[in-house]
């Protein structure tokens, strides 16, 4: 839900509900400014501090501390000095991060390419988090500071920096998601499995000279159409590796086209075990994606899946 669109009065409350970040004072600046006012408005949440009336003090509750609470502000004091900027939360965040940079500027950093890859929150997510309409260029400033902080050597990373960074990290880090690659077996074979329509194929790919056996038959015997033969070894052809591998495959089910295209996937996946770097090329060649289409079912009242009986006049 986009909190930033709502009127200011509603924003705060909703943000408390939806925000990932716990509502707490996270900046020294803000805390310093509020030191005095906490005594007056003892509730800690920003929400109450913003809109609620001051707490009522009863006589009998009073202790020795009560005597100290002589200080009274005639007007409400904002919790942070950046209240008077256009985007106070953003300003606070930026200042806090810049403080951190300043504080740890002496720590050693890694080379720019070697820092752990992190996916930062997107602009929209950030806006929802703080509940302000932050411009892209402004948020970019934050991201730049975050990058600088991320470059601190991982072994020396201070705890508060880690905490600050975690707040800006996306919930799921896509860079941590590494595909598992099936290893080759002791004979150097890689197995891959593929399906298409109702056919399924298993292909074992081994380094060789371009010989292909499908169900014990040569490619020409197994597939009469040249188009089918091409699609059976399309993964090898698209990557110019026909003469580098041998394929031994078992296919079953469906018709020739389905079997050939099931082999495309099977060979493609087996080839990945040999050369994982080929994945983008194979994806572009269409050897990675399973085609989910199947025969559409027949429906009652129809002649076939979609066909209706001819119109007859009475």
């Amino acid at each position: 839900m986009k909190v930033a669109w709502l009127p200011t009065s509603l924003r705060e409350g909703l943000r408390c509900q939806f925000s990932v970040r716990p509502v707490a004072f996270n900046s020294n600046v803000r805390r310093r400014g509020l030191d005095a006012s906490t005594k007056q408005f003892s509730t800690s949440t920003r929400l109450q501090a913003g809109i609620a009336a001051p707490e009522i003090k009863f006589k009998n509750e009073s202790n020795g501390e009560d005597e100290e609470e002589k200080l009274f502000f005639a007007r409400l004091v904002p919790e942070s000095p950046s209240y008077f900027t256009a985007q106070p939360a953003f300003t606070d965040d930026l200042l806090a991060l810049q403080d951190l940079v300043r504080k740890y500027s002496t720590l050693p950093v890694v080379k720019p390419g070697e820092a752990p890859r992190v996916a930062w929150r997107s602009l929209v997510e950030y806006r929802n988090m703080v509940g302000e309409s932050v411009k892209a260029s402004k948020y970019h400033k934050i991201v730049e500071v975050l990058r600088r902080l991320n470059q601190i050597h991982p072994s020396l990373m201070p705890r508060d920096v880690t905490a600050a960074l975690n707040e800006y990290k996306r919930d799921v880090n896509p860079f941590q998601n590494v595909t598992k690659i099936a290893p080759l077996d002791e004979h150097g074979r890689a197995a891959g499995h593929g399906r298409r329509k109702t056919s399924s194929a298993t292909a074992w790919v081994v380094e060789g000279t371009g010989e292909v056996l499908v169900n014990g038959k040569t490619l020409a015997e197994a597939f009469g159409r040249i188009h089918d033969r091409e699609s059976a070894i399309w993964a090898l052809k698209a990557t110019d590796r026909i003469d580098k591998y041998n394929v031994w495959a078992r296919v079953g089910g469906g018709g020739t086209t389905g079997q050939a295209e099931a082999m495309t996937l099977a060979v493609g996946r087996a080839l990945l075990s040999h050369e994982p770097a080929l994945k983008p090329a194979l994806r572009r060649a269409g050897c990675m994606t399973r085609d989910p289409r199947r025969v559409e079912r027949k429906k009652p009242g129809h002649v076939k899946a979609r066909k209706m009986p001819a119109w007859v006049k009475r």
């Binding site: 020409a220 026909i242 007859v312």
Partner: protein, 543 residues
């Protein structure tokens, strides 16, 4: 009936056949009759066209009959078109530096054969490893130049091959400027065997292989070799034409079991043989006396004899027998006897005996003649070869033939286990075994040897006896001609495929750069280099 007009060209008969006359007159009558009926009852169906028919619920729109334009082809023209063989394409580029399959090239192979033999002898006598090495080196050098290259056929060879119908319509001769042949390792080996068989020791070979592996072309290569070497070539171009009951036939008197001759087929066959071997046959004169139903001069050439047989179908078979007897006489050149489509002759033919039973193909005189030589029962006296090629497209399955070929091949390779007959299979034909030279005699020899082995015991006298027995058995094997050789053709090697594709590129048919990748791709897509599939992928299926 034999066709009146030539099947290989578009020549029409000089006068229309009575059938055509009948057809036209009938058509004319039809028109008259239709006109008369129109006059008698004027049609009134125009107004009713769109009227509803009672009981009909769906909309029906009448389809118009397609308008016929142009004259339909004359009878026989379509077949002539279909059977036409084009051997040249003037649009194709001429390939420069093409060698010809001539006596010089065959001479080189002959030299290498002789050298191999000598090397083998040296090896036996003094284990001269040096000589062997030299021989191998020389041979490799000579052949490496040719294997994987396309060679052109000489003009005279092409004429002869055309006469024996060695070129088929399904082959891509019409794509190139002049007919050429790819030299494969198998074809060099076959040529060498043919050269060896000139000295005696007849080569009996069955060429087998998957569809499109070049069986017929290897046969053509053998024929071309034979023509260049000055052999007489007798070819049965399509075995199915002999057995599918499309020719007239008659029982031969005085034969048990009854053989059936095919007079008009024999007549055309004789004329083919004559045309193909004209240069040789016209040089040879009759040497024997024959008892023929026609008067015969004693000094005519064999070519003239063939002409006489070709002219009169009634005497064609006796004349062929006389011609064959002349060929088998002393001092004649070697003979190549070949047949394409072996499985057609290894079963019952479509002809019927007087008791309506099917005639076995081996009871047809022509097939019987061929099979007699293939089995080794009769021998080509002056040397030569008997070749047969199987066929995989539109060929009947002969279970016995398949079984025999696999068994023979396994025995040739020396495998431990040999495929056995399926005990539940009824379709086996014992005559096929005989035709391929697998006989009882051989089985008994094996039994002899085994018997000797079992009887042998560790005493010196018996050892000697055993050796003698084995020697005797070996001699027996040598005198009895064994089973035929089987050559199983497979796909081309990559070198050969590359040579072929380069030839295509030079001819301007293949418009691609021929490199390693391209060759590997086509080779793999063609199922390990099956020639016809490479051609299909590279030349025919261009998108």
């Amino acid at each position: 009936m034999a066709n009146t007009n030539c099947l290989r060209c578009l020549a029409r008969p000089a006068f229309p056949s009575p059938n055509i006359l009948n057809a036209t007159t009938r058509a004319g009558m039809g028109i008259q009759r239709r006109a008369a009926s129109k006059l008698a009852k004027p049609s009134n169906t125009q107004g009713r066209k769109n009227e509803k028919v009672k009981g009909q619920k769906t909309l029906r729109i009448k389809k118009k009959a397609p308008v016929k334009t142009g004259k339909p082809p004359a009878p026989g023209e379509r077949k002539a078109m279909r059977k036409r063989i084009v051997l040249s394409n003037t649009n194709a580029l001429e390939v420069e530096g093409l060698r010809e399959l001539d006596s010089k090239m065959l001479g080189e192979w002959e030299e290498s054969v002789v050298r191999e033999l000598q090397a083998g002898e040296d090896d036996l006598v003094m284990q001269g490893a040096l000589g062997l090495l030299e021989g191998e080196g020389g041979e490799a050098k000579g052949e490496a130049k040719v294997v994987g290259k396309v060679v052109a056929l000489m003009g005279s060879t092409v004429d002869s091959l055309r006469a024996v119908e060695a070129f088929k319509t399904t082959q891509g001769w019409g794509l190139f400027r002049r007919p050429g042949l790819l030299i494969r390792e198998e074809s060099v080996a076959l040529s060498k065997k043919l050269i060896l068989s000139e000295e005696g020791g007849v080569l009996r070979l069955v060429i087998d292989g998957e569809r499109g592996t070049g069986k017929s072309l290897l046969l053509l290569h053998a024929m071309a070799t034979a023509f260049v070497r000055g052999w007489v070539v007798v070819n049965i171009p399509e075995a199915q034409e002999v057995t599918n009951a499309m020719n007239d036939y008659a029982p031969l008197p005085g034969t048990t079991p009854t053989l059936y001759s095919q007079p008009s087929y024999t007549a055309t066959w004789l004329s083919q043989i004559n045309k193909a071997n004209l240069a040789l046959l016209s040089e040879m004169e009759l040497t024997l006396t024959h008892n023929l139903p026609i008067p015969l001069q004693s000094n005519i050439s064999l070519s003239r004899l063939c002409e006489l047989g070709a002219r009169d179908p009634d005497v064609a078979w006796p004349v062929f027998q006389a011609f064959w007897a002349e060929l088998m006489a002393e001092g004649r050149p070697p003979v190549l006897l070949s047949l394409d489509g072996l499985s057609n002759v290894m079963r019952e033919s479509a002809y019927r005996a007087p008791d309506v039973s099917l005639v076995h193909a081996h009871d047809l005189a022509i097939v019987n003649h061929f099979v007699g030589y293939l089995s080794g029962e009769k021998e080509l006296v002056n040397g030569g070869a008997v070749l047969a090629a199987t066929n995989r497209s539109h060929a009947p399955r002969s279970k016995s033939l398949d079984l025999m070929l696999t068994q023979l091949l396994e025995a040739q390779v020396g495998e431990e286990e040999i495929t056995e007959k399926d005990p539940f299979e009824k379709g086996y034909d014992s005559r096929v075994e005989w035709a391929l030279g697998v006989k009882e005699a051989e089985a008994s020899v094996e039994a002899d040897v085994e018997g000797v082995e079992t009887a042998s015991s560790p005493s010196s006298v018996k050892e000697v006896k055993k050796e003698e027995n084995v020697e005797a058995a070996v001699e027996k094997v040598q005198t009895v001609p064994g089973p035929v050789e089987v050559l199983k053709l497979k796909g081309l090697s990559k070198v050969e495929a590359r040579g072929l594709m380069e030839y295509w590129a030079k001819s301007g048919v293949l418009r691609k750069t021929v490199n390693e990748q391209e060759v590997a791709e086509k080779w793999a897509l063609a199922g390990k280099g099956v020639v016809a599939e490479i051609e299909r992928g590279a030349l025919r299926m261009r998108i």
